[in-house]
């Protein structure tokens, strides 16, 4: 029987109760009374700053007032009409950097209205009502006779598919993986989307009708972009970022793995006890994925977990809230640690090496070895796969789009992490999908049927 002090990489370090608790809901939902009290804190601002700061432009004051006045389902409609993934965004958005940072109550007293939790309150109510009644809050326009291919069943693709379906178009969503959901299903910490929420939200979105999900279909292998363009009236690419950034020397090491793969394994594991984790874990990176990987390592029973980041704490992409979560979970955050290779023993990694530049990053580099039996790389992802630059234009390694998320290839739109200029947030991906869908709809209504693929 393993424990947290067992050396090496192994599962079963904790009791079954520990696993259940550690991978339950991170932030429990508000009770009805809590939601009413919190909602009453909202000032119903004019031209509210929180709306301005939401990438999807949810009418926050309106939905909060709807909650306050006993209409959570109306609130959910307000949310979902702007952001069909309002339920997931309520769980994973860095609200402390978006709507809640803009809240005038944050300005006034350092304590914003808890918009994220209120959003969850409303969307949970809608999901429950919808599941119970088998209905969907949004109807569909009369069939347009047009079809759109959506590649990628992540937030961008599903948002596009849902909006296109409500506008009356027939949508086919292709995804290389066995399940839809994208990062929501595979890449977000389990305790942020507990209770199978990603799958439930996927079912809810598909509940609008008119969307056919084709999992296990990879673009470039099973279907081609040209084929999709020929078969459909428009194509939306929500491809995400399939490739992990490389770190010199990492490939040669055993137990030095990609953090997203680690998180995916954890998310898909029916039994968390079966997920192996090291006694000492070093996570290299400074974003949300780094924190998700580090915190979940602790929750799997790792004794020591360190996040090593090459720049200062203030430079980390992980928000203050995320960093605090990591610290509360007992993760040590060490800034100014520039990766410098690995040490191995018996064919497995035994330490991660860094050039450390002092507490303020200004000192002379000093070689530091952090003992580790598992190293997780969260140093960012890259665009990988088809289509490539020979087909459409790229900026900084990601697909170039205009304000309407139109690529340089006629009849093809793109959004989410695969496009240039984004902020790599679920909420931004949803907005991309929504905007692209509206642009595609406008395009289709101005093009004579029969000229498939024409711009």
């Amino acid at each position: 029987m393993a424990s947290i002090t067992t050396d090496g990489v192994t599962g079963g370090r904790l009791t079954a109760e520990d696993y259940a608790r550690n991978f339950g809901d991170l932030s429990p939902p508000l009770t009805r009374h809590e939601a009413l009290v919190e909602a009453e804190r909202c000032y119903f601002c004019y031209d509210a700053p929180c709306v301005q700061s939401c990438p999807t432009g949810i009418d926050v004051p309106l939905f909060i007032r709807q909650i306050a006045k006993g209409n959570p389902l109306g609130a959910a409609e307000t949310i979902l009409s702007a952001n069909i993934m309002g339920g997931m965004c309520a769980r994973v958005c860095p609200t402390e950097q978006l709507c809640e940072e803009a809240c005038v109550r944050e300005h006034a007293e350092g304590k914003p209205v808890r918009i994220g939790l209120l959003q969850r309150h409303a969307t949970d109510a809608m999901m429950a009502a919808s599941a119970a009644s088998g209905t969907h809050p949004f109807g569909r326009a009369p069939a347009s006779g047009r079809s759109v291919a959506v590649v990628g069943a992540g937030p961008a693709g599903l948002a596009a598919a849902h909006r296109l379906a409500t506008l009356g178009h027939a949508v086919t969503v292709y995804d290389a993986r066995p399940k839809g959901g994208g990062l929501n299903e595979y890449g977000i910490a389990a305790y942020k989307a507990a209770g199978g929420f990603a799958q439930a939200e996927l079912d809810f979105i598909l509940g609008v009708g008119g969307i056919r999900l084709e999992p296990g279909v990879r673009l470039g292998a099973d279907v081609t972009l040209d084929g999709l363009r020929a078969e459909h009236d428009a194509v939306f690419l929500g491809l995400g970022l399939g490739g992990a950034n490389a770190l010199a020397g990492a490939d040669a090491q055993s137990n030095v793995v990609d953090a997203l793969g680690f998180i995916e394994g954890l998310r898909q594991a029916a039994d968390k006890a079966a997920v192996p984790v090291g006694r000492r874990v070093v996570v290299i990176g400074g974003g949300m994925t780094a924190v998700d990987a580090a915190v979940q390592s602790r929750r799997l029973g790792a004794e020591e977990v360190t996040i090593a980041y090459r720049r200062g704490v203030a430079d980390m992409k992980a928000s203050g809230w995320e960093r605090d979560l990591a610290k509360t979970e007992g993760v040590v955050i060490r800034p100014w640690m520039n990766p410098a290779g690995f040490e191995a023993r018996d064919g497995r990694v035994s330490a991660a090496l860094f050039d450390h530049r002092g507490p303020d990053g200004l000192g002379e580099p000093e070689r530091v070895a952090l003992p580790a039996d598992l190293v997780l790389l969260a140093i960012g992802q890259t665009y990988a796969g088809a289509p490539g630059p020979e087909v459409l234009a790229f900026d900084g390694g990601r697909i170039r789009v205009d304000a309407e998320r139109r690529t340089t290839l006629p009849g093809v739109w793109a959004g989410g992490d695969c496009v240039a200029g984004g902020s790599d947030l679920t909420v931004s991906a949803v907005e991309d999908g929504k905007r692209a869908a509206l642009a595609i709809d406008a395009h289709l209504r101005h093009v004579t049927p029969g000229l498939k693929g024409a711009a």
């Binding site: 009290v37 000032y43 601002c45 005038v104 300005h107």
Partner: protein, 437 residues
């Protein structure tokens, strides 16, 4: 340390806080608890005539309006007068008065509107040793359908008649409790005075339906699916009670008539406001029913602290001081000009002042300045209506500033003008006619 003791119609109490006639004063055990908690006096819940006691519903008697966090803002009831036998109440009143001779103990009474009924009960009440009687001419439900309560209180002649009987049948001070369910509170108050009443107390509860149960499609509270109007009270009725108190205090016909004020008194400040409008004592019910008898500690402490800070040594030092400043609209200074000012350091940029003024008033507050979100009052449009002040969520962020120097960009007239009111205003047809005569 300020002296809070009062002498009201000769009735002494250590502080002006009396419990109003209501469920909290229905029985000895409650009243003893109240006195132990520090209440200055009680008005014992209304006694009825001898015989079978009245019957209350055995079901919901209260309905409420809640604010955020379920704060009780307003409250109504369909209770009737005491449903305990008269003899039991009289015996307990006597026992309590013996135990607490220093506290005010007034008996509320309601019997049919005939002379014999009052002649029969008053000597028995007086025999308890209580300090006074309060005639309940106020309850708007149940008893009024039997010709009592507000059915009497709505007819000044009846008030006068019954008050006169009572003054003849007892040596105790007589307080007439008025119903607010009338058009002009001055008429019943004048009638009470004509009848010889020593004081009035007001307000009793207001006819009300606090809500409708949209599932049952019936007023709440409902008894077996059917509801009725009840008597409204609590913090929400305080403004009405303040206004009615001031009307009686400044009416030449009733000026100086002692007033025991009732109506939404929840804090020391509420009490101070009623006393400033002339009340000699204040009666509390809903606050006690919401929070328990202990709230009197806050009331006593708050009033005392405030009086010390202001240099008032006794209640009489400030009682009625606000009355001369209550006037009719026609005497307000039409040349007084104030304009709103927003303290930009306190402003949290919620924009409520802008949209309230923009949508519903005078379009006098900016939303942006030089392309940036900023809320500034436009003097050329501001009429000083105070809406922005009242809806701003930040205290003292928006204030009205009295202007005396310079010209008003809205009217083009100098701010400094001598006092002038509607009685002499050229637009007033009455004023013009008067000048012509």
């Amino acid at each position: 340390m300020a002296d809070l003791s009062t002498i009201f119609l000769g009735i002494r109490s250590p502080n002006p806080f009396w419990l109003a006639s209501a469920p909290p004063t229905d029985r000895k055990t409650n009243v003893l608890r109240a006195f132990r908690a520090g209440w200055g006096g009680v008005v014992w819940k209304t006694l009825g005539e001898e015989g079978p006691p009245v019957v209350n519903v055995s079901g919901p008697r209260y309905g409420a309006i809640h604010g955020p966090d379920r704060r009780l803002m307003g409250f109504n009831n369909i209770e009737l007068i005491t449903d305990r036998p008269l003899e039991v109440n009289l015996r307990e009143i006597a026992e309590v008065k013996k135990l607490y001779p220093d506290r005010a103990l007034v008996a509320s009474v309601m019997v049919p509107c005939d002379e014999d009924s009052w002649r029969a009960i008053l000597p028995r009440v007086e025999a308890t040793g209580c300090d006074g009687v309060e005639l309940n001419f106020g309850c708007p439900h149940g008893m009024s359908e039997r010709g009592m309560g507000s059915a009497v209180g709505q007819v000044p002649d009846y008030i006068e008649m019954v008050a006169r009987w009572c003054k003849a049948f007892t040596r105790l001070p007589v307080i007439v409790k008025l119903t607010p369910n009338i058009t002009d509170i001055r008429h019943p108050a004048r009638a009470a005075k004509r009848g010889g009443a020593d004081a009035v107390s007001l307000i009793n509860t207001i006819n009300s339906i606090v809500s409708v149960d949209l599932d049952r499609m019936a007023p709440a509270p409902h008894v077996g699916g059917r509801g009725t109007h009840g008597g409204y009270c609590g913090p929400a009725v305080k403004p009405i009670a303040l206004s009615m108190t001031s009307e009686i205090a400044r009416d030449p016909a009733t000026r100086g008539l002692p007033i025991s004020a009732i109506g939404g008194i929840t804090t020391w400040r509420d009490a101070a406001e009623f006393i400033a409008l002339g009340a000699g004592t204040v009666q509390v019910c809903t606050a006690a029913m919401t929070y328990g008898f202990k709230v009197v500690e806050e009331m006593v402490s708050g009033l005392s602290t405030w009086m010390d800070a202001k240099g008032y040594r006794s209640i009489e030092d400030f009682r009625g001081m606000a009355v001369p400043n209550v006037t009719d609209w026609q005497y307000l200074d039409l040349n007084y000009v104030a304009k709103a000012h927003i303290d930009q350091d306190l402003c949290i940029s919620c924009g409520r002042c802008h949209i309230a003024c923009e949508d519903t008033s005078h379009q006098a507050i900016t939303a942006t300045v030089d392309g940036r979100r900023k809320f500034v009052v436009k003097d050329e449009d501001c009429v000083g209506c105070n809406l922005c002040v009242e809806i701003c969520p930040v205290e003292n962020c928006i204030t009205l500033e009295h202007r005396t120097v310079g010209d008003d960009p809205r009217t083009g007239r100098p701010y400094a003008q001598p006092y002038a009111n509607w009685t002499t205003h050229p637009n007033n047809p009455g004023a013009v006619r008067e000048a012509a005569e």
